[in-house]
Amino acid sequence: MSDKLVINITKNESELTEFLLQGQIDEDSTFEEITSSLKKKIIIDFNEVTLINSCGVREWINFLENVKDSTIIYKNCPQVVIEQINMVHGFILPNTSIESFYAPYYSEKSDDVIKVLLLSDQIIDGKAPRIEQDDEELEFDAIEAQYFQFLKQKG
């Protein structure tokens, strides 16, 4: 299996551990690396996650049950992760929040869609922030009410 989930610790401090997830979250994924080193604060970097399938969603939601006493912060969530969070409830619990995520923006100049890393704080009233690149204002390339739905989810 080429794309099996790999979890690496990228930061380890007295009250905080940061993990980088690489590959796909599916029925075979286990999160022992995270549950075995529980800290007050856990940062999960999704930057290199390529897929979460339906069974992976279930595994993730079950995993969250085991880390209820920690503060969980998701960062660098790719579009594929954000769309699953929007589609299925249970990723966001009272102890979880999304710090940063990628969003699609369209560049007319290059006729291409660019993934821009945004902070959740940049989304005001459900509106995509203005992004400029090479003297061009990029256009948000998804439906705001759908794409930023995760910000309204409460645990």
């Binding site: 299996m1 080429s2 794309d3 099996k4 796909q24 599916d26 029925e27 075979d28 390529t50 897929l51 399938n53 339906s54 069974c55 969603v57 279930r58 939601i61 790719p78 579009q79 594929v80 699953q84 589609m87 299925v88 409830h89 249970g90 699609p104 369209y106 006729d111 291409d112 869609v113 660019i114 993934k115 390339d141 998804a142 439906i143 759908q146």
Partner: protein
């Protein structure tokens, strides 16, 4: 094959009749028609006709609830590709030529395929297949959407085997080469198409629609059971058209279509179509 377009359909889609008249016989009375083309808001359950094709501008959730409440095999989401999709579906009904991927594509299409016999090979086989195409004319990441759809459909094909006793998705499932799961990925200038074929043919429309509805309504994985009960909803949400072609007790094809566009927004705004065909 005689088509009848309801008054409301003609009002809302004024170019449709003229386009269909070039290739099909469009009749003035619904009694003479073998296919009724109806707009979702004016559909009446009271006057059934052999085949009804619904055109809908409602949300995917509304359409799935609708399909769960009526015995309709075809619902087309209103889109710029409406006329092409409608013509292809009518031809499929007319010719009773249900199977294969070619009918959804133009002549310039490239098709790649693979056969999978071990469920745990699925991610690797999907990546190999996806790498055979160049996606420069498509929004930035169709591979992500295709990966989800292929993964869910292939895993269903392995784990819905009727003789399988333990359907826990963590298990490995091997099948013989005669029972292999057949996967095709194709692209032309306007369409990406995927086809996943099992050798079971035990699918029924009501179960598929009920499973998609469950995903939409509950939006949570099943706590118990072999699958999470979200897969078909994820498939439906990551494509523009879903065609299910079932040859009863022999095999079933799930075909997913994505309309090629540079804009991801266009892809997300498109209302997903649902089509169910069965050959006894």
């Amino acid at each position: 094959m005689k088509l009848f377009l309801s008054q409301k359909t003609n009002e809302l889609y004024p170019t449709l009749k003229e386009r269909l008249e070039k290739n099909f016989q469009v009749v003035a009375s619904r009694i003479d028609a073998s296919i009724l083309i109806e707009e979702i808001n004016s559909f009446s359950k009271e006057e059934p006709i052999n085949e009804t094709i619904i055109i809908s501008n409602k949300s995917d959730l509304d359409n799935i609830l609708f399909l769960n409440s009526v015995n309709i095999n075809h619902l087309i989401g209103a889109s710029p590709c409406l006329e092409i999709e409608l013509e292809r579906v009518i031809r499929k009904i007319q010719n009773n030529n249900l199977f294969g991927i070619e009918k959804y594509l133009n002549e310039d299409a490239f098709i790649h395929s693979t056969e999978i016999i071990h469920s745990k090979d699925t991610p690797e086989e999907i990546d190999k297949l996806l790498s055979k195409f160049n996606y420069e004319d498509v929004f930035s990441s169709p591979k992500d959407n295709l990966r989800i759809v292929l993964n869910e459909l292939i895993m269903n094909a392995f784990f819905h085997q009727t003789h399988l006793i333990d359907k826990n998705r963590k298990n490995s499932v091997f099948v013989s080469s005669e029972e292999s799961v057949s996967v095709k990925l194709a692209m032309d200038s306007s369409t990406i198409a995927i086809l996943v074929k099992d050798n079971i043919g035990s699918i029924n429309k009501e179960n598929v629609l009920s499973s998609i509805k469950r995903g939409f309504v509950e939006r949570r994985p099943r706590v118990e059971g072999p699958g999470a009960g979200l897969g078909l909803m994820m498939v439906f949400e990551n494509i523009n058209q879903l065609h299910i072609n079932n040859k009863k007790d022999q095999f079933c094809e799930f075909v997913g279509i994505i309309d090629i566009s540079k804009r991801y927004k266009n892809f997300k705004e498109r209302i997903t179509s649902f089509h169910y065909f069965e050959e006894e």
